[in-house]
């Protein structure tokens, strides 16, 4: 899932630092590496992971590749939670409105109906 990918990608502190370098607008690999204690190849690897997670995109400016934040990224992060709660609340509503049996007011452990 995109959400998992995004959060997993940002779990790495160095990668997060690379990501934060994009805050000011499009930058090149060299410009990112200049402010960090990591090599350019390492920065490129982090950018690749961020791109695959949908957080970063790049554009070509002449001979340079400029990287920037992909605006769809937050949509993915928040969108996952959005869907997560939609599904969960639909299941909650179904349970609340399920006909009650007087004899089973206690919670039975064997009536889990959620699909696995």
């Amino acid at each position: 899932m995109a959400y998992h990918n995004a959060f997993a990608a940002l779990a790495d502190p160095t990668r997060r630092a690379v990501f934060e370098r994009l805050r000011g607008g499009p930058v090149s690999v060299g410009e990112i590496a200049a402010g960090l204690p990591v090599s350019r190849p390492a920065v490129s690897q982090h950018l690749k992971a961020l791109r695959e997670a949908g957080l970063v995109r790049h554009e070509v400016d002449g001979t340079r590749r400029l990287y920037e934040v992909d605006p769809k990224g937050l949509g993915d992060l928040r969108g996952w939670l959005d869907r997560f709660w939609s599904d969960s609340l639909a299941a909650f509503k179904a349970e609340v409105e399920r006909p009650q049996h007087k004899s089973s007011s206690r919670r039975p452990s064997s009536t889990r109906k959620a699909p696995r």
């Binding site: 630092a17 928040r78 909650f92 349970e95 452990s109 959620a114």
Partner: protein, 162 residues
Amino acid sequence: MNTTVSTPAYVEPVIRSLHVAATAARAFEVFTANIGRWWISTHSILASKSPQASVTIEPRVGGRWYERGEDGSECDWGHVLAWEPPRRLVLAWQLDPQWQFDPALVTEVEVRFDAEPGGGTRVTFEHRCLERYGAGADAARSGLASEGGWSGLLERYRQIAR
């Protein structure tokens, strides 16, 4: 708790409003005491990978919110911030980006149960403080905490994602 960490940024909360054909008291009870009956059991993060056996919200402020596997292992998800049956419930959802319980991270889930004039209950749900994802816990841990750090980034993200 990261209440002392400044998180000026704002990420739009997840908000839901739904009508349920039941009293507020029943809706509150099902949401809390019977959460294991409706929680989608694949939404489980037990380290042991054991099938989820139960989900529990302890009925008091400060009570734990956790899951238990069939093998008996447990995993905390958060705790109760406000316990006001049958009208209102606030839970702390404390799972970090790697789906690990992080006591330093608090995002808030508020659920209100209001009786509707025509019968039934209006359930209003909000998962907020999403900007704290990373802002307090992760950023502090990795030394990236700063005014323009993670939270500023998310804010920028939010603005350009519109």
